[in-house]
């Protein structure tokens, strides 16, 4: 299957053309303000390099920073209201707790609490009241809310009240856009609700983004569908992104780690991705990034969708160097490296200059550079990387370190006693990661283990649900693999209530070429 993978980064947009396991060609192009024209330039260059025609491409897969940027910059956010189905419980922690105030203001965040929700065993806290839902909706609309998010207590155990509320609203006001928390996050009401709110506020932008990519698809005569990469390294259809943009929120580090594992053919390794300003360090297991713990803070909001466990720090090719104080970063010339750094004829001393002067690599035009204290500075840079790699390691096993990204040429050949691999095309790892994305299904549920159901059958039941979800998303059923299973008993309660999480993945299958 021939596919294009695109990664929109802060500095560059990368594109690769791949035929099953082979990279046919790839290219970089500066990221543009409108994003789409940068993507277009990168795709055209990649098609040329690979001598492929757009008509022959069977899937176009895009990883983009559109959505996280919108939240960070508080731009293009829709006015959003939340209906939380919880009363009489829930009032002690109101929605938007612990959010940055400017973010709430910039999305005109409002909420209403209504009766309903479930206990952990699936019994009702109270009945859902139709009039109350309509009343809440009207109040939110009066406050100017255009997008609606709905959360309900223990929606991961029973999602039907969220569904019921959606139905009531759709009957009453068919054009209202609604985000349900049960479709977005796992256990933890506030974190799941936060993810639903972020999702809701991004929806109009998502529609715009999808439309502009669809336009590009038509203009460039692609005959294939467009997919987007998710935070967990798998993909979803463009139509799904319109509904669930938050799932693609943090795909950058994931794509780079997946791409690194693929290019080096190492399924278990540490990945060091050195960019212009920062370096990300993470670990891949079975080709997928190791996931972070229970909650993740994105743009100062606590959420609980699955995200890779990445350590980021301020060292990159453009990091500013002080030869007297022996310091590197975190300030950087960023995307201006190629005209400001000394090796490129500029007058700012950067980490790249020190690496060239020390003989680590040859980049730019100026190779006869003399830098004071270069040995101490190189030692410091190595130490910074080694420290983070040591922290990212989860065993004493001698797994390799895969170095990717434009700045990876600065790295030593051994880090923390581990061999460093710099695979071919490592500067395109992100786009490769997008191109090889698979399809996933994840389900999280509390099940009471008793004489009717044992632990194994409960896990099996959840696995079946996860598989169905993946197949619905175009996964080839014959390639489904269980990626992660976890079960956690709920403490301090009698009886064996298990919180079960299952993630499955499978290859993308295209019925219509």
């Amino acid at each position: 299957m021939i596919r294009i993978g695109v990664d929109v980064g802060g500095t560059n947009t990368d594109a690769v053309v791949m035929h099953s396991e082979n990279l046919l060609g790839g290219a970089k192009s500066p990221t543009t303000k409108d994003i789409v024209s940068g993507v277009k330039n990168a795709i055209i260059a990649a098609l040329n390099k690979s001598k492929t025609k757009s008509e022959d491409i069977e899937a176009l897969i895009i990883g983009t920073t559109h959505f996280v940027n919108a939240i960070v910059q508080r731009k293009s956010l829709a006015k959003t209201g939340l209906i939380r189905i919880c009363l009489p419980s829930g009032g002690a922690i109101l929605p938007f707790a612990d959010w940055p105030k400017e973010l709430v203001d910039s999305m005109n965040g409002n909420y209403q609490l209504v009766k309903g929700g479930f206990e952990m065993d699936g019994s009702e806290i109270s009945k859902l009241n139709k009039n109350e839902i309509i009343d809440a909706l009207n109040k939110l609309k009066k406050l100017g809310c255009e997008e609606i998010a709905i959360s309900s207590v223990f929606a991961t155990v029973r999602g039907d009240m969220e569904e019921e509320a959606l139905k009531i609203i759709k009957e009453n006001s068919p054009n209202t856009n609604i985000s349900l928390s049960k479709n977005i996050g796992g256990m933890g009401l506030l974190e799941r609700e936060n993810a639903a709110l972020i999702n809701a506020t991004l929806k109009p932008l998502a529609k715009e983004v999808v439309n502009s990519f669809e336009e590009l698809r038509t203009k460039m005569k692609f005959k294939c569908p467009i997919f987007f990469t998710r935070n967990d390294g798998t993909l979803i259809k463009s139509s799904e992104v319109e509904d669930l943009p938050v799932l693609t929120f943090a795909c950058g580090p994931t794509n780079s780690m997946r791409g690194a594992a693929f290019l080096s053919k190492e399924k278990n390794a540490l990945v060091v991705d050195v960019g212009g300003t920062t370096t990300d360090v993470g670990e891949v297991k079975d080709g997928f990034p190791r996931q972070a713990g229970t909650s993740v803070t994105v743009a100062d909001v606590r959420t609980n969708f699955s995200m890779p466990d990445v350590i980021s720090f301020g060292l990159g090719g453009g990091s500013l160097v002080d030869t007297e104080k022996i310091t590197v970063g975190p300030e950087s010339v960023g995307h201006e490296l190629t005209n400001k750094a000394k090796v490129f004829g500029g007058d700012v001393l950067t980490a790249s200059d020190v690496a060239v002067s020390y003989g680590r690599c040859k980049i730019g035009i100026e190779h006869e550079l003399e830098v004071n204290n270069k040995k101490s500075i190189i030692n410091l840079m190595d130490q910074m990387v080694e420290d983070k790699v040591a922290r990212a390691r989860t065993s004493s096993e001698k797994i390799p370190v895969i170095a990717v990204g434009g700045g990876s040429v600065m790295l030593d050949n051994s880090i923390d006693g581990l061999e460093v691999i710099k695979p071919q095309h490592n500067d395109l790892a992100n786009a490769v990661g997008a191109a090889i994305a698979q399809v996933s299904g994840q389900v999280s549920k509390v099940i009471l283990i008793d004489d009717k159901i044992d632990r194994e059958s409960a896990i099996k039941q959840v696995t079946v649900e996860a598989t169905k979800l993946a197949v619905d998303r175009n996964a080839d059923p014959s390639t489904i693999n269980v990626l992660a299973v976890s079960d956690m008993p709920l403490s301090y309660l009698p009886g064996n209530n298990l919180l079960i999480n299952v993630t499955v993945v499978g290859d993308l299958k295209m019925e219509n070429k």
């Binding site: 009489p88 922690i93 952990m120 009401l189 506030l190 065993s395 309660l493 009698p494």
Partner: protein, 354 residues
């Protein structure tokens, strides 16, 4: 250690972090309690923290806590009306006005919950607690050693259902209250061990709120080196630096039991240790050698961030520092060891003080 005199949104964060440390791996994440308190403090005055000596002997002090599964509270938050109702139920039972709120467990979620009650009712909170850490059962308090009973006790749920208990022993209170907690949806708010200031002065573990505030600030200021500072300042012992190699969990009877296997790193390379937990970490062993046992505290810190780690967050690959902290001296009598020592938790090990 500086004694705190009031709690507002700013120093509440340190209290929540310190509370997680004294949770000794259990007691739930104080984050939810912190958010609840923050919400109250938006409309109320900061909570006044007082020394128990400032109260007259006959004044009534009410401990407030959450009972049940902290995991449930991550999903189903209290209504917020529980505390006013609880206190009025207790005042009726005791036929007396309440003078101050008390934290019964300065570890985990219950380190922050009492502040919600204090803020809501405009009452001061006493600097101290009855555990000096987190323990899993409600009779495991210093008050039990003084013969003080848990009842009269009141329990209330998010729906507004209330119940009161009058029992023959603290063990029975635990049994009955735990059962009702389930019917109430897995978590409930309770007030128990109502004490006069006179009794409280005798059996209180003093200054625990100031202590968790101090610990929280050390964690914030020293991040991954916090364990070293705490070991030195609190006369603790750095027991191990390790990566988690294996976690085994089994559940039943309201407890998650488990074993964590640790493989030494840093100065501990080539050595292995094992931690037993039942909600809280209870025993640390290196081979046959006991490193620490309950009631001394076994506290784990993420080696990268310095943040306290709970038993629920234990997972393969996590690198941790294990710190042993001496328990309050009140827990070291024979009677106390019978109540909270390793044998009570069905481990065939003698308590050996750190």
């Amino acid at each position: 250690m500086q004694k705190i005199t009031s709690v507002d949104k700013d120093n509440l964060e340190a209290i929540a972090i310190g509370g997680a440390v004294l949770g000794s791996g259990g007691g739930g994440d104080p984050y939810v309690g912190r958010l609840m308190t923050n919400q109250c403090l938006e409309t109320t005055q900061p909570v006044k923290v007082i020394q128990v000596e400032t109260l007259n002997d006959d004044e009534l002090i009410l401990p407030i806590a959450m009972m049940g599964a902290p995991t449930v509270m991550m999903e189903k938050f209290p209504s917020g009306n529980e505390f006013t109702q609880l206190v009025s139920m207790m005042e009726k039972l005791m036929q007396k006005k309440v003078s101050a709120i008390l934290c019964i467990e300065a570890g985990g979620l219950n380190s922050t919950i009492p502040f919600v009650a204090a803020a809501k009712l405009g009452l001061p909170i006493v600097d101290g607690d009855a555990m000096g850490r987190a323990f899993p059962e409600l009779q495991m308090v210093s008050f039990t050693l003084g013969g003080i009973t848990a009842t009269p006790m009141a329990m209330i749920d998010d729906k507004g259902n209330g119940a009161t208990f009058d029992t023959i022993s603290n063990q029975w209170t635990e049994k009955l209250a735990r059962a009702l907690t389930i019917q109430m949806g897995g978590s409930a708010m309770v007030s128990l061990y109502p004490v006069t200031a006179k009794d409280c002065k005798k059996y209180l573990i003093k200054n625990s709120l100031s202590l968790i505030h101090y610990i929280g600030n050390v964690v914030k200021d020293h991040s991954y080196n916090a364990y070293q500072v705490l070991a030195k300042e609190l006369h603790g012992k750095h027991l191990f630096q390790a990566r988690v190699r294996d976690v085994e969990r089994t559940a039943g009877e309201g407890f998650t039991r488990g074993v964590v296997k640790l493989e030494g790193i840093g100065d501990f390379v080539g050595r292995n240790a094992k931690l037993d937990f039942q909600n809280e970490f209870l025993i640390a062993m290196e081979g046959e050698k006991v490193l620490a046992t309950t009631p001394d505290l076994i506290c784990l810190f993420d080696a990268n961030t310095g943040e306290p780690v709970t038993t629920e967050a234990m997972k393969y690959g996590l690198s941790v520092n294990v710190l042993g902290l001496p328990c309050d001296p009140i827990w070291r009598s024979k009677e106390a060891i019978d109540l909270v020592g390793p044998k009570y938790f069905k481990y065939d090990i003698e308590y050996q003080p750190l």
